[in-house]
């Protein structure tokens, strides 16, 4: 796959970082504003997909395998499960117990475990979508070769 023109590449350089930051904002404020782990994770994957589409094979030479993103994906699910299991250990013997202090509703650091769950799900969704896209792109490259 060929890259696009220099104008697209420069614009993508400027924009991709802002899209990444917006995804992080959506994930971290998931318990205060609309959004959350699912939406933010897909936006994070979208910033990488934008870079891959604009730069083509020149960018893809760096990441020839998709093993890195699958490691993050499995790590996200395992940490999510571990956080749920801590409720079984320390809380009231309930799976998914929210035993951290809740704090004041409306503050950034509040709601106990929910922001941590949001971060785990965000990492997991972003890595999943990126793995699927990388698998499609690498398959296409191997066919063309």
């Amino acid at each position: 796959m060929k890259g696009m023109t220099i104008i697209v590449k420069k614009t993508t350089q400027l924009i991709a970082g802002m899209i990444f930051l917006y995804g992080i904002y959506i994930i971290l404020h998931g318990h205060l504003t609309p959004g959350g782990g699912f939406a933010g994770g897909i936006i994070l994957a979208g910033s990488f997909i934008l870079l891959i589409l604009a730069y083509g094979s020149d960018f893809l030479i760096l990441v020839r395998k998709e093993s890195g993103s699958t490691i993050y994906e499995n790590l996200g699910v395992l940490v999510f499960l571990f956080l749920a299991l801590t409720g079984l250990l320390f809380g009231g013997r309930i799976f998914f117990a929210n035993w951290l202090p809740h704090g004041t509703p409306g503050e950034l650091i509040s709601a106990g475990f929910l922001p941590l769950y949001n971060i785990c799900v965000g990492i997991e969704v972003a890595a999943s979508i990126l793995s699927i896209f990388l698998a499609l792109i690498i398959f296409k490259e191997e066919i063309l070769k």
Binding site: G30, L32, G36, A45, L53, E73, A84, F96, E124, I132
Partner: protein, 175 residues
Amino acid sequence: MELTISVIVGFMILGAIYAIHARDILSAVIAGGIVGYSLVICFLLIKAPDLAIVQIVVETITLIIMIAVVLDSSRTEAYGRFDGQAYATAGAALVILLILFWLFRHASASLDHFGEGTLRMSDAYINGAVEKTGSVNLVTGVIFDFRGYDTLGEATVLVTAVLGVLTILRIRGRK
């Protein structure tokens, strides 16, 4: 309110019919995008901003993947001659649609009118939810606290789908 959503759903039906009958596969994919992006407007109108923000991103990624697949392969629609099998398929489809329509007419008699009835469980999820979960966004509270098992299952389904895609695309075919 109901009229506005009805008009938008009417446009979605038109886009769906064009997507099914288009002669070019690329225009069929783009017409399928009409349905997805109209759904975003419907979600905004019925006060569901979480759904809208997820749907608009998901639709964009889906369109990118579909267009990548279509541009990589053929764009022509598979048209054959209208033989007996095609007529038999269309007839069977119409019969199935009529039966389903009749069933929905009976089922819709017990539905409440739009915007008037509420689900019985909704009080338990709204009243006092902020004190129970500490989350101002009620949808996040439902997803991660009241219904955490669902989210765990969803994450498992996502991992399984990625494993399936990697298994299908990354293995070498038998030479």
